[in-house]
Symmetry: D2
Subunit: 161 residues, 4 copies
């Protein structure tokens, strides 16, 4: 053991949740949001699947950001191709709570009941949550209409450093 | 969405499991092992706690490696200071299985029953497992006596690329 | 091993979800609902806590029904006193999904974000869901205004035998 | 709400863990153990699968005992036919910890790495553990050679009431 201690800088994660399939508008939103977050030094964590998750990872990776996929299954190979750190959990849909606990804030893009569960679990855990599309009128969710607005919400809620 | 696809290189993870407290010998082993793995381009994933986990992260971080802590609690601040990516799960000891599913191979260093559970879960999932100390005579565990030997085992089992 | 096979009759479970604290109206609803379900031969499964959960168990137990509590913590002693079968999970809020998977149908009574997560997870798993109070206007939830109506919904959705 | 409070008697559960396939000797042991436990007023909790689990449930059910199956999958229909209370978890092998947390004591019969993980998780949680066959020499496990001896161990460790 050595005398010099390195205090490792922590990656700062933002959760992006949404459907495994996505409309073009939702994918575009998620792609831009991932890129903007990466540009500000954040990493993206998601469920590692397709649709919104894949678009968010693609946008983040293109800007050089770290992308984390918390997978429902047991095989890391199931992650979408833009996940750089794949974590298979083997606990199915119950991994949803981990996706939202991992981020300092949560951005929901479209999605169905799985996404609603992530929004509810995030709010229950006290996370700031913004939403674009389907579930943006759930009480406690800040409705946003652009990726820029989502990033502003994140920065407003968790600070810039 | 754009036409250019970036195929993100995946981080390759090795799980290091062991006690939350550790003897000097075990800490030294874990520290060296973390460093050697980082030097070969691997990242370390562990439970994010103290003892063996902290030593492994310290060794890995010192060599510039990525360190992932899959935490039992809900707060990322509970991670040891050498974790660069903290993932709170909120599922307690049940996160042990995720720690071993995340790695391509598992190295056990000392430890008590929690570590034994990780060894068993790893073997059940078909992961290569090597052990130093307490549980190295469990059938299916490759007994190793040095960090170098542990790294050789890992390379032998999962290949270098 | 013997030649005679006993085909064990399965308990039929209905999930009742709701807040750990409850208004008098919500408690009264849950108590009556638990009793009505028990009277029709169903067992009640819930998170084993206070509020709506305790009232539902009390109502069910009073009519001789089996009450199952799937607890967030590790100690069965944390169950409310009307739980006859306490199952500690140690996985915290992630046990919510198990509560709704256990039932053939789900009745939500009041509740906050935890209850919303249970509703979402139930709908995602394809369970019939009825709601009284807070979340009764979530798409996919059948709004009910009395325990009798909730029971009718359950019978309509899953049949009487 | 009424004035009369019913303090529901709690079912007392013993966990029986073991392989999904079993030798005739192991099945016979589990069958007898399930029956003896039921005869003393205990219920059996297990993973709800085949092999040792099915034999234990069969033995318990034949003596009129309650049998609880905590299933890895999402469908209660996957339980063996002697499970009277089926609880699908959808979290795969991670449900192992719940099986052992549910019981006041744990009896392991044969089994492979999954069973070893249950033994380790039980010991880590402070549960008394006895073992017949494969893993009976793990430190902390009381080796037993008959179902009667297993029951004596259980009674010795947790008392008769």
């Amino acid at each position: 053991m050595q005398n010099i201690y390195y205090f490792t800088p922590m990656y700062r994660l933002i959760s992006i949740v949404g459907g495994n399939t996505a409309s073009q508008e939702e994918s575009g939103f998620a792609f831009s949001l991932g890129g903007l977050l990466a540009g500000m030094g954040f990493s993206v964590v998601c469920g590692g699947g397709g649709g919104v998750m894949e678009a968010a990872c693609m946008g983040c990776a293109e800007e050089g950001g770290l992308t984390v996929g918390i997978l429902s299954g047991e095989e890391r190979t199931a992650a979408n191709p833009f996940v750089s750190l794949a974590l298979p959990t083997g606990i199915g849909v119950s991994r949803n709570r981990m996706v939202v606990l991992a981020g300092e804030a949560v951005c929901a893009v479209g999605g169905a009941y799985g996404t609603l569960s992530e929004i509810a679990l995030a709010l229950q855990a006290g996370k700031p949550v913004c939403g674009f599309g389907n579930w943006d009128s759930i009480p406690g969710v800040r409705k946003v209409s652009s990726p820029q607005e989502a990033v502003e919400f994140v920065l407003e809620m968790i600070g810039e450093n």
